[in-house]
Symmetry: C2
DNA sequence: TATTGTTATACTCTATAACTATA
DNA sequence: TATAGTTATAGAGTATAACAATA
């Protein structure tokens, strides 16, 4: 019988693209299906506009870097968001959960889960906040400091490896250009006669 | 009673960072909690190594661009992966689902869901493949072509807006540098007598 | 009344594995 | 036996909304 053809296709996600959920999920990768990593340019395929978009170029690079990052820190069970959190807590001790959430750009509930995991891994500790009995003061444990040191070394190696295709000067240029893109952008509307 | 303090913290995600799932989820954003968008650099916060990593610079830029992209295409319910799929199918008609999956770097099952959504939106159609009764041949519908045209215009506007912080020449430079990063990398082990 | 941490719930996206029809 | 599409299931990550304790 018709393998797939004549089958009512129900609406799994259908028409609800952005109401919530993960905003990106940038990285396909070593899944069993599609061979190994991600091919930015499959032979004989016309990518149309995609090849001219700055956004797509960034996406491609991010996918590749993400894969390498995850592999590099797999042994410590440290993912990108966890690494960021560890670094931030390390350099800015005694942050409250709410502050950490804002810095990382995630919801408070997400910060709770993130810190839960880090605390279970014995890398971060919740300590009572000095003058506010509602809040916590986040700090790294001794083990957290050791692990972060090792992980940081691994991340730097990883970053150097990935960026090895560029000269140090080009890397600086790249960081500079990317930094400008990350700016909030002057205004949403071109605005005929001046600024907002 | 102790609001949060004395409560057994169970392991939601605990120690299972990478076995599967979305690889990135790059984008925090307009959530009710953390004010508005993502602040790449919160005042008075020390970002440590993060500021020196090419990977983190890319991530920051990607978050910002992703937010703008989603907003730009919200009216059509077209997300980044959907847009990519439309462009690929448009420029390379008669692809099979498996081929689309490989090009997009996702699992076949993911391609099915993606095409399901696009088909329900009447933008893409599954047609019987000429010489293989198992396979489908993907094509854009007339509505798909019209919508893609409009969406493409919106995406180009979006990209131009986001990249407006750079001169055209800098944009070229950026695309070029990013393109090199996206390369598979010469080898995991170069290094006859050197680093590592 | 506002804020902090928390929990419950839901949604997106993706992956793995098994299954059916066909090659 | 291998491949194309599909389905079921699971998991990570995030968001929203409501709640208790505290400010």
């Amino acid at each position: 019988m018709t393998t797939a053809k004549a089958r009512p296709r129900r609406s799994r996600e259908a028409l609800a693209p952005n109401p919530a959920g993960a905003r990106d999920a940038a990285s396909p990768g070593g899944q069993a299906d599609s061979g190994g990593g991600f091919d930015a340019h499959v032979a004989d395929i016309d990518y149309g506009v995609l090849d001219s978009l700055v956004g797509y170029a960034i996406r491609r690079a991010q996918i590749r870097i993400y894969e390498d990052f995850v592999q590099s820190l797999a042994q410590w069970h440290i993912t990108p968001p966890r690494f960021s959190a560890l670094v931030i807590v390390s350099r800015n001790p005694h942050l409250k959960l709410t502050e950490l959430a804002r810095i990382l750009g995630i919801a408070r509930s997400g910060a709770v889960l993130l810190v839960d995991a880090l605390e279970e891994m014995k890398l971060v500790a919740r300590r009572p906040a000095p003058h506010d009995r509602r809040a916590y003061s986040l700090v790294l444990t001794p083990a957290g400091r050791r692990t972060l040191a090792a992980a940081t070394a691994a991340v730097c190696e990883h970053d150097a490896r990935v960026a090895a295709a560029l000269t140090p000067q080009q890397q600086d240029t790249l960081r500079d250009l990317l930094g400008r893109l990350a700016q909030p952008a002057p205004a949403t509307k071109p605005d005929p006669a001046g600024t907002v």
